[in-house]
């Protein structure tokens, strides 16, 4: 998460935090000096002069007013802690892997709150400055406020600024999402409309162009218009196993759904194939169905893929289940590839 090259730097930051939080002024001073050294050479970039000046005034003003030793002790502690936290946060901010931090935070508190918190921390300096400037302007213009309504208009100004800020942030997020483009495709259609065939053709085309393709396809046998077996093929290795069957020829049954008995060996094989994908791959997952909507089957592997999306992800999903799958797995940015019922591609050899 933090791009430290060695464990010693991480220990150093923890040590600084520990020293500054103690009651000893000397140690807090050492921590502050060490923290400043972390950012030495970036004084002008970080515009630290104003900060140091304001912290000095805030910290030592109480001592300037009340000349007592205990107040001096508190003032010094406040001053050193402020310097330590400011410089440490600056250093961490420059070295942090925010994408990873956001992922861990999303797992802890949910995606919506983690996104809000990230935005809030970015917004904080700007809003603080704006609010204080607005208040300063208000005070300068209304030296002797004649009416209480003057304060009400100040509150309205702050609220209006906040709404405007929120709107701008939202628009930026929307534009960012649109410009990034979809990397997740859902191949959908009715049963036996050619979804797996289309996925196989796409995978073959990508492979022929030299792209890295991985994941699983699920061809099977059909008798009298009814699917009797599902096999799973590892795209990268070309191997396949029996995943499920209606015929009762599955020795190690791990699950039972819709008349199909799922093989543990087959399922482990497909999960392993999905685990072997890399972030640069174009990954195919055939198929996401009712079993996955119960959290079983390929669901754990799909969640892992959605958490660390590959270059492109193709999911094969029956038409009637698309909405449920999108909702269950919280899929946001995606493109539907809908196969009409009568249109079927020729199957690959």
């Amino acid at each position: 998460m933090i791009r430290f090259k060695s464990f010693s730097k991480w220990s150093f930051v923890c040590l600084l935090a520990g020293l500054s939080l103690g009651p000893w002024v000397g140690l807090a001073g050492i921590a502050a000096l060490s923290a400043i050294l972390l950012n030495v050479g970036r004084f002008r970039e970080n515009r630290s002069a104003k900060f140091y000046l304001s912290v000095s005034i805030i910290s030592f003003l109480p001592y300037a007013l009340i000349r007592r030793a205990d107040i001096l002790h508190l003032s010094l502690l406040l001053f050193f802690r402020s310097l330590t936290f400011y410089n440490t946060l600056l250093y961490l901010g420059e070295n942090m892997d925010f994408a990873r931090f956001h992922r861990y935070l999303s797992r802890g508190i949910g995606r919506q709150f983690s996104l809000s918190l990230s935005m809030a921390l970015n917004l904080l300096p700007w809003m603080r400055r704006n609010t204080l400037e607005s208040h300063a302007l208000f005070v300068l213009r209304q030296r002797r406020p004649k009416r209480f309504l003057g304060y009400v208009s100040f509150i309205k100004t702050i609220l209006r600024q906040t709404i405007h800020t929120a709107d701008q942030m939202a628009e930026n997020l929307i534009m960012d999402g649109q410009s990034r483009g979809p990397a997740l495709f859902i191949i959908t259609g009715e049963r036996q409309s050619g979804k797996t065939t289309l996925a196989a053709n796409r995978a073959a085309e990508f492979l022929s162009r030299g792209w890295a393709v991985s994941g699983i396809l699920a061809p099977g046998t059909i008798e009298n218009g009814r699917r009797m077996t599902i096999r799973v093929r590892n795209i990268r290795s070309g191997e396949d196993r029996l995943l499920a069957s209606r015929n009762g020829d599955v020795a190690d049954v791990c699950d039972d759904y819709g008349g199909f008995r799922f093989s543990k060996t087959g399922l482990d094989f497909s999960l392993q194939a999905l685990r072997e994908t890399t972030p640069d791959d174009i990954v195919f997952v055939d198929e996401i169905g009712p079993l996955e909507l119960q959290g079983k089957g390929h669901a754990p592997a799909l969640r892992a893929l959605l958490g660390r999306p590959p270059a492109a992800l193709y999911l094969v999903v029956r038409l009637s289940l698309v909405e449920s799958v999108v909702k269950y797995f919280r899929i946001e940015n995606h493109t539907l590839i809908h196969i009409p019922e009568l249109s079927k591609e020729s199957s690959p050899s």
Partner: protein
């Protein structure tokens, strides 16, 4: 749907930040000045900000107000100079009470009034509740003994303290109701403020 999601996230972030800012700037000032009922005043300001934001949220499902409280608490806890975890807890509980009010009674006048009242009563009861949890059953005896001692020394009957507590309760509840009412009235005017230039 995506647009609604992003707007909701942005509004939670913006109003949570405003609440956090008010806590860290005004909070420090009010604590330094030592004015009475500063806890209730800070809570009232925070409740006002959150309820205004709640009215303007495009998607009011879930627990967005708790999200605002979490952001405000995080900003407060990062305020320079000190690190107090109980402040984060207080802010979270206030946001929980606000959320409970609007979730139970809806995003309407009643919900805002009840939410505001519950949140503003929290500063009054938090010490009693928290010390009761921390110290257990015996704390009641200590409180009663303190009241008896105070009553004997000040010459005020015990019923006087009960009256005082009742008055404080009414004052806090009224402040909360007023905040809820004002937030409802003021936020209604900002329904059209989106995309208006500042």
């Amino acid at each position: 749907m995506k647009k609604k999601y992003y707007y909701t996230v942005a509004y939670i972030a913006a109003f949570g930040t405003l609440w956090g800012l008010s806590e860290s700037t005004l909070g420090t000032l009010l604590h330094a000045l030592g004015i009475p009922m500063k806890g209730a005043l800070l809570t009232a300001i925070g409740a006002f900000i959150v309820l205004c934001g709640a009215r303007l949220l495009p998607d009011q499902r879930g627990i967005p107000l708790i999200g605002m409280g979490f952001i405000a608490g995080s900003i407060k806890i990062l305020s320079l100079g000190y690190l107090r975890v109980n402040i984060l807890t207080s802010i979270l509980i206030e946001s929980l009470l606000l959320q409970a009010g609007v979730s139970l009674f809806g995003y309407n006048r009643i919900g805002f009034l009840v939410g505001g009242m519950m949140a503003c009563l929290w500063p009054l009861i938090q010490r009693v509740l928290i010390y009761g949890i921390l110290f257990g059953h015996g704390i009641q005896a200590i409180y009663l003994e303190m009241l008896r001692t105070g009553s004997a020394r000040l010459g005020i009957p015990l019923t006087g303290f009960a009256t005082l507590l009742t008055l404080l309760f009414i004052a806090h509840a009224s402040l909360g109701a007023l905040v809820g009412f004002l937030a409802w009235r003021l936020s209604r005017r900002f329904g059209h403020a989106r995309h208006d230039p500042v």
